[in-house]
Subunit: 249 residues, 2 copies
Amino acid sequence: MLKKERQAYILHQVNLHNKVLSSSLSADINVSEDTIRRDLMELAEEGKIIKVHGGALSHSFSQVHFPANEVYSLSQKKRIAQKAISLISNGMFILTSGGTTILEMARSLPPQLKATFISGSIAAILEYMNHPNIEVILIGDRISKNSKITVGPEAIAKIKQMKADICFLGTNAIDLHHGITDNDWEVVQLKRAMIESSQKVVCLSIAEKINTFQPIHICELSKIDMLITELPSDDPLLKPYSDAGIKVL
Amino acid sequence: MLKKERQAYILHQVNLHNKVLSSSLSADINVSEDTIRRDLMELAEEGKIIKVHGGALSHSFSQVHFPANEVYSLSQKKRIAQKAISLISNGMFILTSGGTTILEMARSLPPQLKATFISGSIAAILEYMNHPNIEVILIGDRISKNSKITVGPEAIAKIKQMKADICFLGTNAIDLHHGITDNDWEVVQLKRAMIESSQKVVCLSIAEKINTFQPIHICELSKIDMLITELPSDDPLLKPYSDAGIKVL
DNA sequence: CAAATTCCCGCACAAAAACGCAGAAACACG
DNA sequence: CGTGTTTCTGCGTTTTTGTGCGGGAATTTG
C-alpha cells in the first residue's frame, strides 16, 4: 500500500469518526504503529487532523468558538485578573460566576495550573476548556439567554452540595450600605448559592462599580472575604471596605 | 511498444484503478522500471496523474483532500438535518447528543419553532442558545475535553430522570449485527442513557457510516425507531434496516 | 507512585528515485 | 547513402525515501 493511499485512508477515518487510535489503525492496515504515528504527524503538520496522545482527532470537532465581542475596559480587567490568579494554587476547587472580568481571568490562567473550575457560565466554560490542565465541571440546568449561564433550582441545588475552596464573583455593583447587588433575579439566586458553598468569597469589580447599587440584593458585605479592583489596595476609594473587614487586593 | 502507446496504457490503468505501482507496470509491459518512472514523470508534469513514491495516483484520489477547516461532507449533513427537523413540532422535549450532524441540525432549526432542547454538548448548546424561541436545558457534569460534552454519573442520572419526546443521536457507526457502536466509553454511557429516556430514538448517520462498527457497543438495532441518512428512503443500502423494523427516512 | 502505553530517537535495511552514461534506434539532411 | 543529431531505453551507482525495531523517555492511568 502506498504512503499517500494510507494517509488518505487515515484522513477518511478521522473525518468519519472524529477520532482514531494509532493502535487500531495499525491493526487495520497492517503496518507498525510507528508508521501510523509518522503519518499522523505529517497529516497534523498539514493541518488536516489534530494529533493527540494515542491517536488523532478531527479538526472540525474541536473547533468550538464563541463570538468574542469587544470587552469594556479590557486593560483594567486584565489587571484584576492577574491579581485574582495570584490567589489560585494547584489542586483547588474554584467556583466562578460569569461576566467579562471572570472571562479575562479564565483566559489568563497560567498553563501549568492544575485545578478544578466549576461554573455555569457558557463563555467561561469555553475558556476553561481550552486550558490544558484544568478540570472543568459544568453546572447544568436551564440556560438563561440573557446572561448565558445556567439558572434554576437544579443548578442551585448542585452548587449547594459542593464546598469549593474559593469563589470568584464577577460583581455588578458593590456598596457599603447595600452590599452586593445585581439586576437579574435568577443570577442573584445563583450567586447566593455560590457564596454559601465557598470557604472564601472574592469579588472582582472594576472601580467604576464601587459604590453603586442595583435593584436586587445578593448579600451583605460581611459575607465577602476579598475585593479585587484595578486600583492599588491603598486607594482611598477602597478604604471604607478594608475598614469594614474586607481584604482589599 | 511505442512510448505514446505505453503512456496511454498507463493512464488508462491509473484511471481504472486510481492507483498504479511502478513495479507492476514494469512487469506488465516488460520495460525497465526506469522507463516507467520516466513515463510517470511526464504524465505528472502534464497534470494527468499524481506521482508518488512507488507509483502514481489518479487525480480523483487526492481530490478527497477537502479544505481542512470545512466540515466533512457538509451538504449531506444538511440534508439529514432537514429531514430530522421535519420530525420536530412545537412543544416537544428533545434530547440530542453531539457531533457535527447534530450541529448542522441545530443551525437549521426554523426560527418560529418553540421547543425544549436538552443536551450536554457544548457546541450544540451554543447553537441552541442563538435560537430565539427554544428553551435550552444544559446537562451538567465534568467536561470531557476530547468530545466537548459533559460526561459522568451526574449527567447520566440527570438524563435518566427525564422523559423526552424524541432523541436525536449523531451516530458514529451502525451495523446490522453490532447495532449502534462508538469509540468513546464515556460518550457511550451518555448515549445509552439518552436512548432509555426517550419515547422515540432517531439515528442520524451519513451513508458512509452505515454497515460499519466501532469497538464499544451502545445498543441493539431494536432500540432504534428511526434512521435518517442523506439517501432516499428506498435506497437498497437501507433495505435491511427497514426490514429490521426501523423506519427509514 | 507503579504499571502500562505511547512516544521519540537513532539505526538498519530494503525499495525506489535520481543521475550519469552508453548503446540502439529513429531521424534529418546534404 | 553516410553522417551527425536527437530520442529512447536500460544499466550501474549513489541518494533518498519509507519502514520496522530496540531501548529509553514521557505520558497516562489505576
